[in-house]
Amino acid sequence: MLSFLFKGLLRDRSRSFFPLLVISLGVAMVVFMQAYITGAVGGLYRSTARFNTGHVKVLTQAAVKANQQSPDLALLGNGPLLNQLEEQIPQMSWHERIYFGALLDAPDAAGETKFQATASVTAVDLLSPRSEVQTLNLKKSLASGRLPESPSELLIAQVFMDKMGLQLGDPITLIGGDVNGGMAVGNFKLVGTLRFGVIALDRSALVMELRGAQEFLALGNGATAIFGFYRDGNYFYHRPEALVRNFNAQHPGDSDPYGPVMLMLEEQDDLESLFAIYAQVMTYVYVIFILIMGIVLWNTGLMSGIRRYSEMGVRLAMGETKRQVYGTLLLESLLIGLGGTLIGTALGLIPAYWMQEVGIDITAMMTGEMAMLFEDRIRAQVVPATFVSGLLPGIAAPLLGALVSGLGIFRRDTSRLFVELEV
């Protein structure tokens, strides 16, 4: 029976070609849209985690309470804590970071102030086995020069350096506040420039080696935060919830305001509501798109049924039962839907994979605060759900169309068939 219907569909292209084309295109669009939305949300997680939050972040209770990271609120004596984290949560890699603000003072030939600017300094591990060169994609972001090879060397944002009129190799002095709130003053050398693609960072960012900042700020082996990243790179909504709860239960903060507390990505910077809104908006877009595609595909099913009104009449006149005719109509629709879904999924995966691997550069569109949140390249993400995302609109919608249009078969009166068919 199936092979009979299949042959019929192949031989009578008017029955199969147009519906198959519409379903394939519709499913391809749904598959691509699903990958695009997954990529957009994933991109938001990636850029936020990389620069600001990690997948989880360990801070002091005092820093969380003050909602700021500064040397005087830093975690101190981190060796045992890092060992504990690596032992208890091996699925994540752990990295100390120091964030602080400082006055950048560039000297003239006589060693006196030539110009000054306030700088946002990020100190990350660049030289030890916990190096974040890979995590932060520093080699690729390097616009000129090289990465620091000693604690007294710095990277500077290219835009910032141009604005200050500095050159690679120039000495600079940083003036900030140390762990006790005292003066921290040190000389450093610029060895490389970075392009962040993030406006706020491009205008004021310096990156230095962790040990240089620890010495400069009298932090010992302390840091303003410890970032945790899943080794598999994947993050989804509230993924680390259980391990965060477990860690915080081991470190109740009521006794020591400078004790550690772990926050997952969504718990930081009011991101929970931001991500919820973003995911909701994206879901609405996806659902509306599926509905529209469903209506188009349903219409295809309807058109197909109506176009074959005479054929149904002849088949009824020749003695086929209404149930048989209706059944074959539904089965044909299912076959076309399945074929269209397979072709459409394959078609949709091609641009989805391209968007995942290459992406679209939107640097020019990213300005102001948007630049802090979004990556400078739109990327899709193909996940297992992408492969099945076209099933519902691709199979159910034309089937529903056939179900409705085929109901007319039962309303037809066999005794009037010849009149209707003008035989």
Binding site: A66, T173, Y258
Partner: protein, 245 residues
Amino acid sequence: MKIMILLSLWLLTFTSLKAAPEAMSIVRKMDQSLNSKNQVITSTMVIHGKRATRSIESKSWILGKDQSFTEYLAPARERGTKMLKLGDQLWIYYPSADRVVNISGHMLRREVMGSDMSYEDMMERRPREELYEALLEGEEEIQGRPVYRILLSAQVPDVAYQKIRLWVDKERYVPLRQELFAASGKLLKVLETLEVMQTTKGWYPQRMRFKDVLKSGQGTEFTVEELLFDQEIPESRFHKGQLRR
């Protein structure tokens, strides 16, 4: 009836006219006891930070309202740091970096050594009667001492605080409490005099507590260990070359 109204208006006008010079004369007397042709001050600043309390010793040479030189004596991390103020310019020498850094513009609003005092607070030596208009708001009692409550409103644009409320000891003409306000009316800092000392020129706040109300922590205590007026200070003390010596 008309006579009564006119009399009341005349009395009101007379009262307000009389209040302004009285308030200003209090401020003038206060300025006289705080300032002199030159001063040499040895002081200790105790900074109650978020995590630790630090004590910083320094010695300052002050000439008039435009020149001052400060050298930090302790602790080791700050020892050898020197500050030179000439007019509205400030240079700081940091021995750890062997650098002379010019602090100007908005940088002057930054805190000194992590304390509750800004560079602007430290630099301001001009008598307040030159900068503010005074209004006597009332008379009260603070720390068991009768005081005048005076509101100062800035008359020049280049002041750090647009309004200052002062509580000035009625007998000693020393400020026992000061509230410093931004142009918006927001309270920025509170200065309390905890102890006073008698000098050759009158009374002087010996121990004060500065509290930046926008900062956490318990404020900064500033204690005058030694205060000498009208000393011989060589002009060379206020040369930039002194910073690296």
